[in-house]
């Protein structure tokens, strides 16, 4: 993401230091990750120490300091999904993709994350890929779902 775009986002939030998290969220949503150069630009323009930005970028789960895969897999591990067997779904997906939550595979195809409650508890266990929700998913069904992605 180039500096001009970062500047635009910062100006949209009136260049206020308190809007730091909102600025980072916008960059993350648009760019799918937070490159170091973008963080340095934000630090400079908002006059916020880079150490604080670093803390925020690692404290909050929405942010990623590394590029994400083309397809983001979210598996809900909230309590309702947990009691309906989400752990088994997660384990199976980990085996199939070869990555653990928080990781991206080497082809930059899949990123895997756990989420704590998407609020679709009636559909538990829930796996969400690219915004599409797969409800009542059984471990044995995940392979077919993942196969459909390039």
């Amino acid at each position: 993401m180039d500096n001009d775009r970062v500047d635009q986002i910062i100006d949209k939030h009136q260049g206020e230091a308190s809007s730091l998290i909102q600025v980072l969220l916008e960059i993350q949503t648009e760019n799918h990750w937070l490159p170091k150069e973008a963080l340095e630009r934000v630090s400079e323009k908002l006059q916020v120490p880079l150490a604080r930005i670093q803390h925020i970028a690692t404290f909050y789960k929405a942010f990623s300091l590394v590029p994400k895969g083309r397809h983001e897999i979210h598996i809900c591990v909230g309590t309702a999904c947990h009691v309906r067997g989400a752990t088994r779904v997660l384990d199976t997906v980990q085996d199939l993709t070869g990555i653990k939550p928080g990781e991206t595979d080497l082809d930059l195809k899949f990123s895997l994350e756990t989420v704590n409650c998407l609020g679709c508890c009636a559909l538990g266990p829930v796996m969400e890929i690219d915004g599409k929700t797969h409800g009542k998913i059984a471990p044995g069904e995940t392979a077919d779902v993942l196969k459909s992605f390039e």
Binding site: A17, S18, I21, T79, R84, G119, G140
Partner: protein
């Protein structure tokens, strides 16, 4: 849309809207909340719209996409007005029938009606369905009848009349008194009397005061606030405006999880509309009250649901809680008096102002007034959001409304209060929901998450699950929480893996005590609750794990093995084909054997083995029987002999 500048202009507008609407005109309301959306209500909406067009009924029939109706297990849901007939689990291909019947008097599509599981009778009206019948949906009810993106819909049901009354007929002190009199207590988990908090802020020194909506609903399994924000955002805004007026605040914040995109979107639309109509900005409804609202999205941290952490996050910093020796009502955001309340708490305020504190206090119990919305989830037949008066028993909620445990399984415990709460066993199901009852049993009502657990759930794993959650979500600042939970997780994980030792329970109790007494914030002080309540009521499970290396619920992966009973296996090949680890050895006439080295314990074989065979067993605490001899594995399938 010209700005509304006085109460009379508002009434004129409202009458105008109502007179334009014919209450007898057929209207299909379709639940379009996030969960129903995930089950395809978007496609259903598209097909109904197309069908209305196709049948030339655009002038006679309306489709309204509403927020969550609450009966999430059976979504997508349709309620036909004015008949109040209710259809469930709608698919796009049902559209033609639904549309044709909607314009006929008393027309119904029988196959889409609810069937009473006890009597097999079909029930037509929403209000007679057991799930809805026993609820009292004062706050949540409107979700099913308004389009959240339409402020006119909200006005048509009386929206913003409470704000009108407060600004034109009451002083801020009178509004405050009414809320105090109602005894409204926070619905986010703390249960602190809202009126008292408001008063503290009102009386605190300073000209800048903030009102904040805590929409960082983080308890896993709880989604009441999300559905309220998605389905009726104006009710929350109206409550916030009234609160701001009472306290003397001119700036409000809504801290909402970014994981709730539909809620964020509908809030933004509602705010734009409120501004346009003049409910926000300067001189609202012609009074001298000015008020603006800013939305701040959360970035994924459970701890930010804690009020001081939330305020720290609003300031643009990492959400670490602060000591609250001085209440945030006095020193909050940037050290200014700040009133923070939960979404549901704010949504109750317009009702209290409109109908009066006296009305409100007649609902509920002596110490817990009003209703509470719960998310009834887990091992329950009727998963969904339910709103009941305080004082209803857990038993009634789970059985009368929830329809009990599915699959013929036995109830084991209900977990309330999220990671700060605990598990309540069967013999305490007659406890009443409210702020104080459940705490005596070692749990708490919390924000409303109610997770039902059956005999297949391991209570030691439940404790481990919550501690695991908290080790990730803890801000990490203080030792009793960060280090205490670190050690607790290790011990609990060991226990679930068969590596527990004598003395583990005592160590966990000691760590719990220190966390409870010395943690910086409520996340830490309440973190031990899931462990403490499960060891209180299910100590035998802990002891089985530690002493016998056995999981009584047959759940902990390291302590169970899947085994195919050679006497029951009919070599149907289903499990062999479905096994994701290729761990089933067998053939069409060869009894299947699970290769224990390859087995990942995913449980697929157990799920797919036809129930008439039920050949797959789970074993714990004993060794897997050795495989039978090769010759003995050849069989002829019994069904072929019939």
């Amino acid at each position: 849309m010209p700005r509304i500048n006085s109460p009379s202009e508002l009434e004129k507008l409202r009458q105008g809207i109502l007179s334009d609407r014919d209450p007898e005109k057929p209207c299909i309301t379709l639940c379009s909340g996030s969960a129903c959306h995930a089950t395809g209500s978007g496609d259903v909406a598209a097909s109904i719209e197309a069908e209305i067009e196709k049948q030339g009924l655009s002038a006679e029939l309306d489709l309204r996409k509403t927020g969550c109706h609450g009966f999430c297990e059976r979504g997508p849901i349709i309620v036909n007005h004015p008949e109040e007939s209710c259809y469930f689990q709608i698919k796009p291909e049902d559209a033609p029938e639904i549309v044709s019947q909607a314009v006929k008097e008393k027309g119904i599509v029988e196959r889409l009606l609810y069937t009473d599981p006890n009597t097999d009778e079909k029930i037509i009206n929403e209000s007679e369905i057991p799930f809805y019948k026993n609820q009292e949906r004062l706050v949540f009810g409107s979700n099913g009848s308004i389009d959240p993106k339409s402020i006119d819909d909200y006005l048509a049901i009386g929206g913003y009349s409470a704000l009108e009354k407060a600004l034109s007929q009451m002083t801020p002190e009178q509004v405050l008194e009414e809320v105090k009199k109602s005894n409204l207590r926070g619905r986010g988990g703390g249960g602190f009397p809202a009126g008292r908090k408001w008063e503290e802020s009102r009386n605190a020194p300073g000209d800048i005061k903030y009102v904040i909506v805590n929409a960082d609903e983080g308890d896993p399994g709880a989604y009441m606030d999300r559905s309220l924000l998605e389905g009726n955002p104006h009710s929350v805004l109206e409550g916030l405006m009234i609160g701001a007026y009472a306290i003397g605040s001119h700036e409000g914040y809504i801290y909402v999880r970014q994981e709730y995109p539909l809620a964020v979107k509908n809030l933004a639309i509602a705010l734009t509309q409120a501004e346009e109509y003049g409910f926000l900005g300067k001189n609202i409804l012609g009074s001298d009250f000015n008020f603006n609202i800013i939305v701040h999205k959360g970035a994924g941290a459970f701890v930010c649901g804690e009020s001081s952490a939330l305020m720290t996050a609003l300031e643009g910093r990492a959400g670490e809680p602060r000591p609250k020796y001085i209440h945030t009502a006095v020193k909050g955001v940037w050290d200014n008096p700040s009133v923070l309340n939960n979404v549901e708490t704010w949504a109750n305020v317009p009702l209290i102002i409109n109908k009066g504190a006296d009305w409100f206090t007649k609902i509920g119990t002596e110490k817990s007034k009003g209703t509470k919305i719960f998310s009834l989830v887990g091992k329950i037949t009727n998963t969904g959001l339910v709103e009941v008066p305080m004082g209803m028993t857990l038993r009634d909620i789970i059985y009368e409304i929830g329809g009990g445990i599915p699959g013929g399984k036995k109830f084991k415990a209900v977990q309330t209060g999220g990671p700060s709460g605990g598990c309540i066993p069967e013999n305490l199901l007659d406890l009443e929901v409210g702020f104080d009852e459940l705490s005596k049993a070692g749990s708490m009502m919390g924000s409303g998450g109610m997770i039902v657990m059956d005999e297949d759930i391991c209570m030691v794993d439940v404790a481990r699950y919550f501690i695991d959650f908290l080790t990730d979500e803890s801000c990490g600042k203080c030792v009793p929480c960060r280090e205490g939970l670190r050690q607790m997780l290790k011990v609990l994980t060991n226990i679930t893996e068969g590596k527990g030792n004598e003395g583990d329970i005592e160590l966990l109790e000691e760590l719990s005590e220190v966390a409870k007494e010395a943690s910086l914030c409520a996340l830490g002080t309440s973190a031990p609750n899931p462990f403490l309540s499960t060891v209180r009521y299910f100590r035998d499970e802990y002891e089985a794990h530690i002493k016998e290396k056995r999981c009584p619920a047959l759940s902990c992966k390291e302590l169970i093995a899947y085994h195919i009973d050679p006497d029951k296996c009919q070599a149907c090949m289903i499990c062999a084909r479905k096994c994701p680890a290729d761990a089933v050895d067998g053939g069409k006439k060869k009894i299947h054997i699970i290769n224990q080295e390859k087995c990942t314990k995913c449980g697929t074989c157990f799920e797919v083995c036809p129930s008439r065979f039920s050949a797959v067993q789970k074993i714990s605490g004993e060794s897997v029987p050795p495989p039978i001899a090769e010759e003995k594995r050849i069989i002829t399938r019994k069904s072929k002999e019939k």
